[in-house]
Symmetry: C2
Subunit: 339 residues, 2 copies
Amino acid sequence: MVTIKDIAKATGCSPSTVSRVIANNSRISEETKQKVRAAMLELGYHPNLTARNLVAQSTKTIGVIMPSSADKSLQNPFFTEILRGIGSYFHKQQFSMLLSSGQTEQEKFEEIERMVLGKYVDGIILLYSRLKDPIVSFLKEKDFPFVIVGKPLEYQEEIVHVDNDNVKAGKDITEHLIENGHKRISFIGGAADLVVTIDRQKGYETALKEAGISPLEKHIIHTEFLKSGGREAVEQILELDVKPDAIVVSDDLISVGVISTFEEYGIHIPEDISLVSFNNIYFSEIIHPALTTVDIQIFQIGAESAKAIIQMCTNQMLDKKRIIIPHQIAYRNSVRLMD
Amino acid sequence: MVTIKDIAKATGCSPSTVSRVIANNSRISEETKQKVRAAMLELGYHPNLTARNLVAQSTKTIGVIMPSSADKSLQNPFFTEILRGIGSYFHKQQFSMLLSSGQTEQEKFEEIERMVLGKYVDGIILLYSRLKDPIVSFLKEKDFPFVIVGKPLEYQEEIVHVDNDNVKAGKDITEHLIENGHKRISFIGGAADLVVTIDRQKGYETALKEAGISPLEKHIIHTEFLKSGGREAVEQILELDVKPDAIVVSDDLISVGVISTFEEYGIHIPEDISLVSFNNIYFSEIIHPALTTVDIQIFQIGAESAKAIIQMCTNQMLDKKRIIIPHQIAYRNSVRLMD
DNA sequence: CTGTTAGCGCCTTCAA
DNA sequence: TTGAAGGCGCTAACAG
């Protein structure tokens, strides 16, 4: 391995001079710079990042934590899309992403402990928000820089997080249904303890209330994310006395399963029932029918998280803890419109 | 920050002794160990990974390279699934994944150059196989440990890669169609220069030939991966003089689009046309109809790649360059069966 | 069983 | 404008 010393020797100057050339220090003569650079090129020198990190006391890498990989929801294209967003910003700043690999919560915790206590990362991005997450407690206690994608239920004023206004989003999309004459509107949500589910549901309820529509009984259903693809949810709906004429589904991925199951029962979207959901992943566009869904701008959520964590790691001030990414509705074909 | 020295001071022994305790060196008295460990606990000591990596000349982290993030195909759940597989093995071995973030090929190249030349990773896993990939040339030239997921077109004997037998897979799944009485079988593939597409197509052709079925003209169609979700492909098929009674699609993700488009034209799978494809991502199970598809064992591909690269990084011998993951067919409802 | 010394590759005062 | 020296935190060889 060719080191700074080799270059020093080759050019007859000292290691510190070479180091300065690398940093393009202004008080090194152009002449020396040329000479040193030539030698670096010739000998194939490249600075050792580990050594550099050691003295810098910083790695310019951020730990990116996914849900436990045992969790099927990991197959949600949401995650690759958000990684894309994070990467886009990181790349510009020469930061790296260290991905978590733990299969269970326990494994993940140990992993993060290693990263953080071992000073192997400068900060953490959590790609999900769980209730009473020990990882969050740990990070908070260590006063380690981290940002959450989504909304923390506790310590909201203290934890930097990037989120949509999911209540508003839920309200907006439900109103779209109402405006088109739908009155019996059900809600199918993912795990009931996910903050994002709660918020979207709240928006849905608000919209109904404001429209003077009294919610039907048993029309709010929670389904294990991805488990059996929303089949159970649909079956519950089919048993209802009063059938809905529209459904708000809290995630596009669940919608796929819901639509398929309806299809099997010979119920067509949107002719028989309208359906809307959230996220606007790639699939929403290509399945039949194409989904009317809230575009939450996943990529941008990622990019903003990246920006926030880098700011925190470089001691820049953040003007707010709660960073809201605006949503918009992608109107497509899963809603029966009023003429 | 509390270092090894602090512990040394606190316990009245030397730094090297502390270091030995960390390594659980057998020639340290139990007594000292206890004492040192107590101090570590009390002062909250944790080894600095960067420092350790510097002397070890190894980081135990592997660069995992995704397709350019500009590429829409990144939304394929294939990638999260393979990350899961890699992570599962890495975690056990205490290895980390450093994820690429480049949006373009150029950006990615520079990034890898940084990782590799800066000795920031011990090895590389490439999650795709491209023709004449400059990254591969670079890695080969530097003689840097790397493994490819998929099949390299060049230097196949030299490059460690983890792949399915895609020719066989293509043949198997096509034969399933033939056995069920299908005769006019089309092929829809992703980008024609992807090795995986080529192989699966080859298998398809072999099956036809062996069954004595002469391939129809213009029944092999390539569609930009994810672009317009296979719509064009379907439209091409609909213009054909002789319509197929079955289709082999090279990727589940494309199938989703293909099925939707057929649906719009009032053509039903499998009643009107049978369809099979490859990968067995989560979606294949929940869409309607559930796909009969080749389960290529994505998770296992990931795990095996992880195993291979770690072996290479730790100078263990690999018994072969080409590691084949067996496939199997997931029989579901997208094929019209012969009673 | 433990301490001393040196060094991994780099950067950064301090001095010249 | 440059060099010498020390140190980032840890490990490993060599002594004892």
